[in-house]
């Protein structure tokens, strides 16, 4: 049975069990969040989504508060705005700030910075010299952690527990020393971490970052939506392109594609092969000396076609074989079998994964 919830005076239908945030976002109310990720259990940790609910003495976190029938919610009031202003002021007092006095921009967009920019004038609070520590000797090649940018919302930790389910990282230490650590503060490569990088993707502030990608570029990256080229799951990826190079791979947001915002170590990080110096860059033909030598495209194609034709003339089309590839596109597989069947008259055509 649907229930009715009033968001800023507008009635909205909701399913029992939905949170106030679910309903508010669906009707277009602008409720900011930092610690929220639709893949994770609500944590109510960052306090940026607090709203007024009639009958509740204190502001309540929309992400964790269940909607009930007849509930009256105000997402934008003087009280809510004042709360956000104080909250942002507290956050920024505990952050490394750039020359504009804001949390630094990142390649993926710093959500804390964006929220600070729209929260009105901030209070002038003395900076907190937070003694949060990073892991001192973590030489894993992919996942970096910058404690000065961390707001301890624990999205990374909860992702590691709830989605990747390897529990490699954890909130460690106490009080002002609280940080994102590992058991014994060892490097990630000595933990259960599988280097999926989900912690980087879910981090709202760029405290978790990809070591081998730029942290910020002068020009925004161009994101090209494509399909991962490793296993058969078909994860959708955004190839982040800058200066004609793929500089990073990210997932589309959760809820939109088959991978629900997730990627694995290969899909997210193993893109160095694209621009690798070992790539083949010119056609090669074997010379009389038995070695492969560079040549032109017309020459290589002519030799390839003639070589295959020669075998066909001498031994018949049954003596030809065409090995296609499950790594290549559907169109290319179509063309290989068409080449084998229509151009060379043989059904000896298969591909590497005969499964």
């Amino acid at each position: 049975m649907p229930i009715t919830v009033h968001i800023d005076g507008q009635p909205a239908l909701a399913e029992p069990g939905e949170t106030v945030l679910d309903v508010a976002r669906r009707v277009g109310a602008d409720v900011p969040t930092l610690c929220h990720d639709p893949r994770l259990e609500p944590a109510g940790a960052c306090r940026s989504c607090l709203v007024e609910i009639v009958g509740q003495r204190r502001l309540q976190p929309a992400c964790a508060f269940r909607a009930t029938d007849g509930m009256q919610v105000t997402t934008d009031s003087e009280r809510v705005r004042r709360h956000r202003q104080v909250l942002m002021s507290l956050y920024l007092a505990d952050q490394a700030l750039d020359d504009d006095g804001l949390p630094p921009e990142t390649i993926d967009g710093n959500q804390l910075r964006a929220l600070a920019l729209r929260s009105g004038p901030l209070l002038d609070l003395p900076p907190v010299q937070a003694p949060r520590q990073a892991r001192p000797h973590d030489d894993n090649p992919y996942v970096g952690f910058d404690p000065d940018r961390c707001i301890l919302c624990a999205r990374c930790v909860r992702y590691c527990d709830e989605v990747e389910a390897v529990s490699a990282i954890t909130l460690s230490e106490r009080g002002a020393h609280t940080t994102i650590g590992t058991n014994g503060m060892v490097g990630l490569k000595d933990t259960t971490c599988e280097l999926c990088g989900g912690c980087i993707a879910t981090c709202p502030t760029g405290a978790m970052y990809e070591k081998k990608a730029p942290r910020l570029l002068a020009e925004p990256v161009q994101k090209v939506r494509s399909t991962c080229n490793f296993c058969g799951v078909g994860c959708q990826v955004d190839l982040n392109v800058s200066g004609g190079r793929v500089v990073k791979v990210t997932s589309p947001p959760p809820g939109q594609t088959v991978n629900d915002g997730n990627l694995c170590v290969k899909g997210r990080f193993a893109y160095d092969f694209i621009h690798h110096e070992d790539r083949l860059t010119e056609p090669l033909v074997r010379g009389p000396d038995g070695q492969l030598h560079p040549t032109t495209w017309p020459d290589a194609l002519q030799r390839a076609a003639q070589g295959l034709r020669r075998v066909e003339k001498k031994w018949g089309s049954r003596a030809l074989g065409f090995v296609s590839s499950s790594r290549c596109t559907g169109e290319e597989n179509y063309l290989v079998q068409k080449l084998a069947r229509a151009a060379f008259g043989t059904n000896n055509c298969h591909q590497c994964a005969a499964t």
Binding site: F269, A304, Y334, K338, T355
Partner: protein
């Protein structure tokens, strides 16, 4: 089996399943993102049954781990069927309405008692009973399998056994249930769909069927051969016998990835002409007469079809290096150079349009539609069809699905005095197949820099092997080096090696005996032994 060679259900349905039966799939390593969906289901309370010779990650969180001896799947699965029938847990209404030859299977599994299975498979009879009851009595119960099922000489038999379980319990055409082969590569499904097959034109239309042949002859304007071709396994052997004289290889390093590679290399030495088209100078190029440099996935347009029949776009993001060109462009030029009038396609969208015009099930799929709507799952016969998430709703596509009675056959090569260990091979999380891509990245290389062999502590003790010691592993076909990893993950008597390392090619060891139907090599079972590396020890 039921009318379509693909996952019957969809990846997003996994999280809502109430029971997952994962067999022959180390999902967290080979399909990590599907494994996340499985983890989510388990966190929600779904029961999990894992059948695998190794204590894989998923087995640690499973309700039941059936740790069978490699290659005894038919015994295990027939015993599960035996229990279902003996206890009357089958879905009689579904069997009567949608299947045929049920009695064949009832008769065939009569002798496969759980106690008999325990003796052969090593799985306790009581666990087999529990698994059968859980599977049969849960409505949303899905089977997930991959190469641990198919890479056997009895791979097709294994698949039949699984299908029998699905049919006798009616777990078909239901959300979050069904029978789900997890495809290992980005576009295995799409390559098969597009007709890269010795017996099928695009869309599984048989080359032996005159009507299909006439259709493709009309479309392509030339007469076509009525003879079925050779599958890859047969092709490799024919090459060695001198029956294949010319070979074109695109995007595969056959010298690394085919079983019993020493034989493949001998064959390649004999072929008169070899063309290799790839993005790297791979091992197979050593034998090539012509090497054509190709673009990688980030440098071209097209589609990949994933394991749940979802046709999705690949988009060009950057330019290929140097003179490298997209495979589709090269193929068109090669066909024309050989005198075949391949059309001058403007783009892969036009090629896809030609493909979909010839296959009714893909008729509603186009680049334009995918660009506008996202991935589309076949069958999708018309432009207004939304695609199909769950197959066989309202009964099997092909009408009545047939049970297949299967008898257990041992693997082709069993351990003996000379080669006392059972070797299985597979993929790890950090690398991908021939690893030409992943070994060019620092993370995988840091996690797994070199080849290794997993050994049970009892075997390690018996053979006086230390964890971390470099050893030689050999079979009747060859020998390679590997670093010993002593782990209780293994069954005693069984060892496991990754397939990724070019300098220690494990496919020197594997058995090229192929499945009688598909030709898939027996990568999962061969007899092997381990001995100390005297040379290295001396250094």
């Amino acid at each position: 089996m039921f009318g379509a060679g693909a996952m019957t259900n969809s990846i997003p349905e996994i999280r809502d399943a109430d029971l997952l039966f994962v067999i022959g799939s180390n999902t967290t390593e080979a399909h990590p993102i599907i494994a996340m969906e499985m983890k989510r289901a388990v966190q929600r309370g779904a029961r999990l049954i894992v059948a695998d010779p190794r204590k894989i990650w998923l087995s640690e969180v499973a309700d039941l781990h059936l740790q069978l001896r490699p290659g005894t799947d038919v015994w295990l699965l027939n015993a599960i069927a035996h229990v279902i029938l003996a206890e009357g847990l089958e879905d009689r209404a579904f069997i009567a309405a949608h299947t045929e030859r049920f009695e064949d299977v009832r008769a065939a599994v009569a002798d496969y008692t759980p106690e008999g299975a325990e003796a052969v498979t090593g799985v306790p009879a009581e666990h087999i009973r529990q698994a059968a009851r859980l599977y049969a009595t849960t409505k949303k119960a899905g089977i997930y399998y991959t190469l641990g099922i198919t890479e056997h000489t009895h791979g097709t038999d294994n698949v039949y056994c699984l299908a029998n379980l699905v049919l006798m319990t009616g777990h078909l055409g239901v959300r979050s249930a069904g029978m789900n082969p997890l495809r290992g590569q980005n576009n295995v499904q799409g390559a098969n769909d597009a007709g890269a097959s010795p017996i099928y034109y695009p869309g599984y239309q048989k080359v032996s069927d005159p009507a299909s042949r006439a259709k493709f002859e009309a479309a392509w304007g030339v007469p076509l051969s009525p003879d079925e071709g050779m599958n890859l396994n047969v092709m490799m052997k024919a090459m060695e016998r001198g029956e294949i004289k010319g070979l074109f290889v695109m995007g595969e390093d056959i010298v690394l990835s085919e079983p019993n590679v020493s034989l493949v290399e001998e064959g390649l030495n004999q072929v008169e002409f070899l063309v290799v088209q790839d993005i790297f100078l791979n091992e197979t190029c050593r034998f090539a007469d012509v090497v054509l440099p190709a673009a990688c996935f980030a440098e071209k347009d097209g589609v990949f079809t994933n394991t749940d029949r979802r046709v999705q776009r690949v988009r060009k993001a950057v330019e290929p290096p140097g003179q490298a060109r997209a495979d589709w462009e090269i193929l068109c030029d090669l066909a024309r150079a050989a005198g075949y009038p391949m059309p001058h396609y403007e783009s892969p969208a036009e090629i896809y349009a030609e493909l979909s015009s010839l296959v009714p099930n893909y008729g509603g799929i186009s680049h334009a539609r995918i660009d506008a709507e996202g991935g589309l799952q076949w069958p999708c016969p018309s432009p207004d069809h939304p695609g199909t998430a769950t197959l066989h709703q309202g009964g099997p596509i092909k009408g009545r699905a047939s049970f297949q009675a299967v008898a257990y056959r041992p693997s082709d090569e069993l351990p003996d005095e000379d080669y006392p260990l059972v070797l299985s091979t597979g993929r790890t999380l950090y690398h991908y197949n021939a690893a030409t891509q992943t070994r060019r990245d620092s993370g995988p290389t840091m996690k797994q820099p070199e080849s290794f062999v997993e050994v049970h502590p009892s075997d390690a003790r018996r053979l006086s092997l230390e964890d971390g010691e470099w050893v030689r592993v050999s079979s009747r076909r060859g020998e390679v080096g590997a670093r010993v990893v002593v782990t209780r993950k293994m069954r005693p008597g069984c060892i496991w090696m990754p397939l990724h390392f070019a300098e220690e090619r494990v496919n020197r060891l594997t058995n090229d005996a192929g499945d009688s139907v598909t030709g898939t090599g027996e990568y999962k079972v061969c007899a092997a032994r381990i001995h100390k590396d005297a040379l290295r020890a001396a250094k």
